[in-house]
Amino acid sequence: MILRYTFQRLLMLIPVSFSISVVIFMIVYLLPGDPIDNLLRVGSSPEDRAELVAQYGLDRNLVVQYFVWIGNMFQGEFGQAIVLRRPVADLVAQNLPYSLTLGGLAFLFSSTVGMTLGTISAIVRHPVLDRFMRGFILLGSTVPGFWLALLLILFFSVNLGWFPVSGAGGWKSLVLPVLTIGFGGVALVARVTRVALLDAQREDFVTLLHAKGLSSRTILFRHLMPHALLPVVTILALRIGWILGGAVTVEFVFGRPGLGSLLIRALGQRDYPVVQACLLMLALAVMLGTLIGDVAQASMDPRIRERKA
């Protein structure tokens, strides 16, 4: 049952990936500027320029360019970075692990801490705690990452000197970026967990669970938690893509290597193949996240499993 559901979901990803690839390809061409301008030495002639354009195939019809690009993608051929003059695949392979470590840790941080805080605030219905949680959630959902990053750097790195200001050396350099990216996630997950738990508590069947003589703790962990997890899993799954995307600016602020830094640099230089590859990676992460979320939900809820995908 769950395998069939997964397969159906995978099939649905095919048209989605196709549309995404078209959008990514087009967006890059709609950007003003040109990578060739970055390659040309000062004083080059228009002939030099035309030669370079032809060399990278940029003079051909857009549709042809798209199919050449997507064809290469299918063969795992990401092409050559125009400005950085290296295989795009190498660049991605070099930067991806940094992003995955950072994103993975931020995801872990926001899910565990968020769910714990959300559960506590749903059970301990204390007015002071409630107000604190609401303030925290509001802050967490509104403070932009790059600004928080700067504040954290100023406080913990510059004033206290606990963590390095930037770079990617050792676990210490991970703490602040993980906190920055995870903060918004913690708030979001805490809010969703809290609301979902409170909603679950109001369900009719909870009365009957109490009437069976089960203890409140058993009811919470065996019955309410699985219900609360359904929306939380959805949020977390969407968060996978968001964390990688959100890491873009944070990586840049902390001067960490990673897909985000690579993307920003490539954007600045209009390095089309690199930008396309990075965007494709992020889009892939979002799609995978959604897929994982859907499958996880289906594995928890028999009603979804039976619904046609």
Partner: protein, 320 residues
């Protein structure tokens, strides 16, 4: 077996329930009737000790079960009674089972918890009980999820859960309201049989006077959070002395001929925040007089039955 005396319930400053009394013994069915909002379900929740879930508390009176006052019981001790010795059947079977869990484990829980049975023994017991409730292929049903079953079937599962630990008292809060008419009759007959076979004390909460007439031995009529009349079913139906009871009985549809039109009771049930002074029924009562608006009536006892009406003694006479 179970007796409730002068029960009062409050949510904060509002007092939706006061002065409710009844008693039910083994092999006996007590009906609690009244319109929606008369405090029937609240009475059930009070007996189950589940008021705190919705933020209410018992402000007075006693709930006696087997010689002990449940209102003074600790939560831990109460848990042993719930599901163990007092079973509850709730109103809406569509939402009373956990949709994420299979039927089997949800029923097994009760025997495991209260009888200390192992996984296998509890499942064997579950299948046996489902069988006695005329559910076909119990083993198969145990592997199903709630959404794969019909309402009537789910209500049987809920009844099975209430029965799993062999309780002494069963409280059924509108067990048939959410079901099709044909299924309603089946469930009512099933409950009736269970009372006889297992010598249960059944508290049947309903708004349907005809159900009371069919199944109950005793009846308590509730209105606006108060018991207004109680007594043996025959007495109450033969000679109802409270105008509200009379009106309820008049509402039972009889036959299909043109002459007997469906009747209702004028007006609506007051909400908790605007319970009328004096007799709560006086604004809708055909025989109300000045005294009814000011003085709450006491119970006028006659044999086994009692009615809280200023004119209970002259109930048979037509109002002037």
């Amino acid at each position: 077996m179970l007796s409730v005396r002068d029960l009062g319930v409050a949510f904060g400053a509002v007092q939706p329930l006061s002065g409710v009394s009844f008693a039910v013994g083994k092999g006996e069915t007590l009906g609690i009737v009244g319109e929606s909002g008369s405090g029937k379900s609240l009475t059930a929740m009070s007996v189950m000790g589940l008021l705190p879930l919705s933020g209410g508390r018992i402000t007075g009176g006693k709930v006696e079960f087997d010689g002990q006052d449940l209102t003074k019981l600790s939560e831990r001790a109460y848990r042993k009674l719930r599901g163990g010795r007092i079973g509850l059947i709730t109103q809406n079977p569509m939402t009373s089972l956990d949709p994420l869990k299979k039927i089997g484990p949800q029923v097994d829980d009760v025997a495991k918890l209260h009888m200390g049975l192992s996984e296998q023994a509890a499942r064997a017991r579950t299948e046996e009980i489902l069988g006695t409730l005329r559910i076909p292929e119990p083993a198969l049903i145990c592997e199903r999820y709630p959404h794969q079953m019909s309402g009537g079937m789910k209500q049987r599962i809920v009844i099975a859960m209430a029965l799993a630990a062999d309780p002494d008292v069963l409280i059924a809060d509108e067990p048939t309201t959410a079901l099709d008419v044909t299924v309603q009759a089946q469930i009512i007959r099933l409950l009736d049989d269970l009372v006889k076979e297992r010598d249960l004390a059944l508290v049947l909460i309903t708004h349907d006077m005809s159900v009371v007439a069919q199944t109950c031995d005793k009846v308590v009529v509730m209105y606006a959070g108060r018991a207004v009349e109680h007594g043996p079913v025959e007495t109450i139906f033969d000679r109802p002395r409270h105008p509200y009871t009379q009106a309820l009985i008049a509402c039972i549809p009889r036959g299909l001929d043109e002459a007997t039109r469906l009747t209702g009771i004028e007006g609506t049930v007051p909400t908790v925040v605007n319970y009328p002074s004096g007799c709560p029924f006086h604004p809708r009562c055909p025989r109300a007089e000045a005294i009814c608006a000011t003085d709450p009536p006491g119970f006028s006892v006659e044999g086994d039955s009692a009615a809280a009406c200023h004119f209970a003694e002259v109930a048979d006479a037509q109002p002037a």
